[in-house]
């Protein structure tokens, strides 16, 4: 089982003499890795943001959760397994506004750096680095997206099933 883990801030820079920590370098403690914050500690699920096409044709944004998929390798946990048709890595500039064009297919967006905010139906979801966003085919009406103050970089995968 893999648990949510931390990255060691400061790398190997912590300095000790005779077991006594020296200066600020001693603050090189474990810091949470925000990229991994979506994964449950037991490794059985991960949080996602969903951009949903509702029955009324409107788009909504909501937080959700997905379970681990069956993996051909039982020792590994696996998530968001899907066939795909296209992939892109792109960057959005700071405060960039993206109008809600209708999604022609299901998609998965993973925020690698920076952050973005999706709004629809009076709700907003902030999506920092480490967020996976699942987009319904046909969604987009009433949806707005605004990149964070430093923009963001993402992997977008157009899904095929």
């Amino acid at each position: 089982m893999i648990r949510r883990r931390s990255v060691l801030a400061g790398g190997g820079a912590a300095l000790t003499i005779g077991g006594i920590a020296i200066g600020g370098l001693a603050e090189a403690a474990d810091k949470p890795n925000p990229l991994a914050a979506a994964f449950a500690a037991d490794g059985k699920s991960m949080k996602v943001i969903r951009i949903l096409l509702k029955n009324d044709g409107k788009t909504r944004v909501a937080e959700g959760q997905v379970g681990a998929d069956d993996s051909p390798y039982p020792l590994f946990k696996q998530f968001l397994t899907s066939k795909a048709s296209a992939v892109a890595i792109y960057g959005a500039p700071a405060h960039h506004k993206i109008a809600g064009a209708k999604a022609s297919a299901k998609a998965m967006l993973f925020i690698c750096a920076g952050e973005t905010v999706f709004k629809a139906g009076g709700a907003a979801q902030r999506c920092p680095a480490g967020t996976a966003i699942l987009v319904d085919a046909g969604s987009g009406e009433g949806l707005t997206e605004t990149a964070g103050p430093d923009g963001y970089t993402a992997i977008k995968v157009q899904l095929a099933d």
Partner: protein, 142 residues
Amino acid sequence: MAKPKFMNADGTAIVAPRTYTDDQGKTHCGVADWHGAPVPPGEATIVPAGCTRYYEGKAISMLIRQFVPGMKTDYHTDPADQHQVTFMIDGEAAVGAKDGTSFHLHAGEFASVEDDHGEGHTAVDATGKGFTQLFVAVPARS
């Protein structure tokens, strides 16, 4: 936000470690540069308007995989005719080729696995705590 660690010095390209196989079937580790460019108007793309594209192409499948602590592979190639565009979400992996070239992939970095044939590469959990990686399989020749 500080400049992401995957960008080059002047912020114009994503720098991604890669594995690849040469014409003699020898596998090596190297570096891929995915240069940023605006998407021309009218072009069919999945990149939102006004954004900078670093990489775009056909895809076959995707998954996020959590590798168990201590995971270590022998030399292996990934599925024939597929490359893998990857992003390290958590942990650290050490990747090596038989020619002695290698790289460490840290959380927050991209990599490109392009040795779908040849000698292959090894992958080792570098911290002993496991690692989590996003994989997108793409056609080797698209």
